[in-house]
């Protein structure tokens, strides 16, 4: 069991006093970000990324930096549940399903129980995903060492086709959003030929669009604008968690072990295949509702079910965590937040991908060990500090909103020290507001900006190898099956539409 000894080594890296402080700071900041409107996992990490530049230059600093940033992410995953349950406002998109039963429970005076079960199931979901990462990622990395450009291209193709095939929304809009991302990624210098693309003589466009700006604008500014429509006030129930409630809830939770297990499986699957935490939480809620004997009471105002909180929270956290697996092993992020973390790795001078596991053992295993520790720290922090975080939401919107907008502007500026990025952020903000109201998905847009250049590069490298012969994408079993799977997923919305029509009109 190589993994166990590597993991133990990782714990020795992660357990330094300084790293524990970063973990704690990260989780608290993360919960705060998760609770505040307009700040979420992806843009929160994006804004704080520039602060780690100096930190990453010290010896061992990259490990501390990734621990800080990943703990912000865990914190944000926990924090989303607080606003969902107490205020009926999902602080994060993946906690929408948590409001269905969480808020009615809080209204019935069971806020403590709902919060405890949300946090505990988040923890369980994350734990399952981390165990999966521990044992599966070295294997995937070893496997991926033999990947060439065609294999990488098929992985990228699979990522993008999975978005189209698995999205619940309109596939045409998913494609449009994704292509917009590719177009934005193409702006700037073409690395292969040295030609300038889509710059039309503007020097600001030479370096292209940074996806971090898109993340801050789309998710940050866009979300604030959406929040505004609902008015300026938050109204919520009081939160108190005392040890008695926690223990009582913990006694009740083992009853739902099957739901937890199922939700973890759904979450891990949706995280690795880039579906993301949000669809995972909805899917898991739906499955739990269908399978549970109390399914009819799910989401009802009279008899809200704890199980209806357990299912989405477990899946969201499992998906959010396991999205880091393809990011670390292949360099292909499964979610916008994983993409931001990947961006961090690149800025610090680390090349994500299979070589990371052989060349940066301290970093990788320190990070994996910190996932265990960070989630334990997270669970303790949220269980003890709920009233404090809920109080944050009682700060009037007229104070909190301008401060968040200022933070977004500073974050956008610090990415590259350019004012042009700040203006772009506002434009992305308007786009994010309109897109999310028209159900254009934002995640494929962001991932296309991140991966567009690299997908194109691996395609062109493959073409150089094969002298322009497309059959290279079917040249061996591995690349062939991945390409086929991708094409299958791409065709899936069409196939299912045809099937639905056939079923609707029996011959």
């Amino acid at each position: 069991m190589d993994e166990i000894s590597s993991l133990m080594h990782g714990f020795s890296v992660a357990l330094s006093p300084m790293n524990l402080v970063y973990m704690f700071v990260g989780v608290v900041l993360g919960v705060l970000i998760g609770v505040l409107p307009g700040l979420g996992g992806a843009n929160g990490v994006a804004i704080l990324l520039p602060l780690t530049f100096t930190m990453a230059q010290t010896p061992g600093g990259t490990t501390s930096a990734i621990i800080l940033l990943s703990c912000i992410y865990w914190g944000a995953l926990f924090g989303g549940a607080i606003t969902s349950i107490l205020f009926n406002i999902p602080g994060e998109p993946w906690s929408v399903a948590t409001t269905f039963d969480g808020y009615p429970l809080a209204q019935k005076g069971r806020a403590g129980a709902a919060l405890t079960s949300a946090f505990t199931s988040s923890f369980v979901g994350a734990l399952v995903a981390v165990v999966l990462i521990t044992f599966l990622s070295p294997f995937v990395a070893r496997f991926a060492l033999q990947f060439g450009p065609p294999e990488y291209f098929s992985v990228y193709l699979l990522t993008f086709c999975a978005f189209i095939g698995m999205s619940k929304g309109n596939p045409v809009k998913t494609i449009a959003a994704m292509m917009l991302g590719f177009a934005l990624a193409a702006v700037g210098l073409d690395k292969v030929t040295g030609q300038l693309r889509l710059t039309f003589g503007h020097t600001e466009l030479l370096k292209g669009f940074d996806f971090l700006i898109a993340v801050i604008g789309l998710f940050g500014i866009g979300e604030i604008l959406k929040t505004l429509e609902e008015g300026l006030e938050f109204k919520g129930t009081q939160a108190k968690i005392n040890p008695r409630v926690v223990l009582e809830t913990w006694r009740e939770l083992p009853k739902y072990w099957l739901t937890s297990l199922r939700s973890s499986a759904i979450g891990c699957f949706m995280g690795i295949v880039p579906g993301g935490a949000t669809p995972a939480s909805f899917m898991s809620y739906g499955v739990a509702q269908r399978m549970s004997k109390n399914g009819a009471d799910f989401g009802s105002a009279d008899k809200p079910q704890i199980e209806g909180v357990v299912a989405p929270e477990t899946a969201a956290h499992a998906a959010g965590t396991s999205a880091l697996l393809p990011m670390l092993t292949l360099g292909v992020p499964g979610s916008p937040t994983a993409a931001v973390l990947l961006g961090g790795l690149l800025i610090w001078g680390l090349q994500p991908g299979p070589l990371l596991f052989t060349e940066q053992k301290d970093f990788v295993w320190g990070l994996i060990a910190s996932m265990y520790l960070g989630n334990i720290v997270g669970l303790i922090v949220v269980l003890t500090c709920v009233p404090f975080f809920a109080a944050i939401l009682r700060i009037p919107f007229a104070i909190i909103a301008p401060v968040i907008l200022v933070i977004c502007a500073i974050g956008a500026y610090t990415v590259a020290g350019s004012m042009f990025d700040v203006y772009m952020m506002v434009i992305f903000g308007v786009a994010g507001y309109v897109f999310s109201k028209l159900n254009y998905p934002l995640a494929p847009l962001v991932l296309a900006i991140v991966l567009g250049d690299r997908a194109e590069e691996s395609f062109r490298q493959s073409m150089l190898v094969s002298q322009g012969d497309m059959s290279i994408f079917f040249s061996n079993g591995l690349v062939g099956s991945m390409t086929l799977l991708a094409l299958g997923l791409l065709a899936w919305p069409l196939v299912s539409a045809v099937l639905a029509r056939l079923r609707g009109r029996p011959a």
Binding site: A42, T54, N88, I89, P90, P93, W94, V96, Y103, P104, Q107, A176, M179, L180, A183, D190, V192, T193, Q195, R197, L198, F200, F219, L225, K226, L228, E229, E230, L232, K235, G236, T237, G276, A301, P396, A398, I399, A401, P402, V403, L405, V406, A409, I410, Y413, G417, Y423, V426, G429, V430, F435, K437, L438, Y440, P441, L442, E456, R460, L464, G468
Partner: protein, 193 residues
């Protein structure tokens, strides 16, 4: 990532409870102000046209770059050409669908768009002001204006909050993390830049 908020009407509980506490006349007479500023269909059509235009620009540029298949593989414009083409096709599909059976539901009501603009316009001015006021002074004024206009706070609250936040960010970025942010005449006068 989509962020579905359940609408007020569907949320039940505390959210929908407060209009009922108001006198009936008050709740009713803003019927006219709840009128829609634009329908979902209109916005769908506008956004589809914009997507199409982006696609057209990308295709146009790909011709300049060369969008053919050279001997050593695709030219620089090869990928963009197809990206642009798919963008135009998907935009056309969305446009036609919205034209035929777009939802006439409200995309945004008049009071909503007023609120959104009351934040968006100052934010745009704020980002423009950063270039010549520096980020700190601009942020201070932005927070103060926001609190005054939208929160209707008095100066006794506005000054400590806006100044406190700005000073905290100055310490955080310039002193602790040594990340320089844009500075303007105020910092120059104070000898801080």
């Amino acid at each position: 990532m989509r962020w579905h908020r359940r609408s007020r009407a569907g949320a039940g509980g505390s959210c929908s409870s407060h209009p009922f506490n108001l006198p009936i006349g008050f709740a009713m007479n803003d019927d006219s102000s709840e009128r829609s500023a634009a329908s979902v269909r209109t916005l769908e059509l506008i956004v589809a046209v914009l997507f199409f235009l982006v696609g057209a620009v990308v295709i146009y540029d790909s011709f300049r770059l060369g969008n053919k298949w050279a001997e050593d593989g695709p030219q620089a414009g090869y990928f963009p050409f197809y990206i642009g083409l798919i963008l135009c096709l998907s935009a056309t599909a969305t446009f036609l669908k919205a034209l035929r059976r777009g939802s006439r539901e409200s995309f945004v009501t008049v009071p909503q768009i007023k609120l959104v603009l009351s934040v968006l316009v100052p934010t745009a001015i704020y980002t423009a002001a950063i270039a010549w006021l520096g980020i700190y002074l601009a942020s201070l004024l932005f927070i103060a204006l926001f609190m005054w206009r939208l929160g209707r706070y008095g100066f006794s609250r506005i000054i400590p909050v806006s100044a406190g936040v700005t000073v905290f960010f100055f310490l955080l970025f310039e002193i602790w993390f040594k990340v320089p942010l844009p500075k303007g005449p105020l910092e120059a006068a104070l000898g801080l830049s």
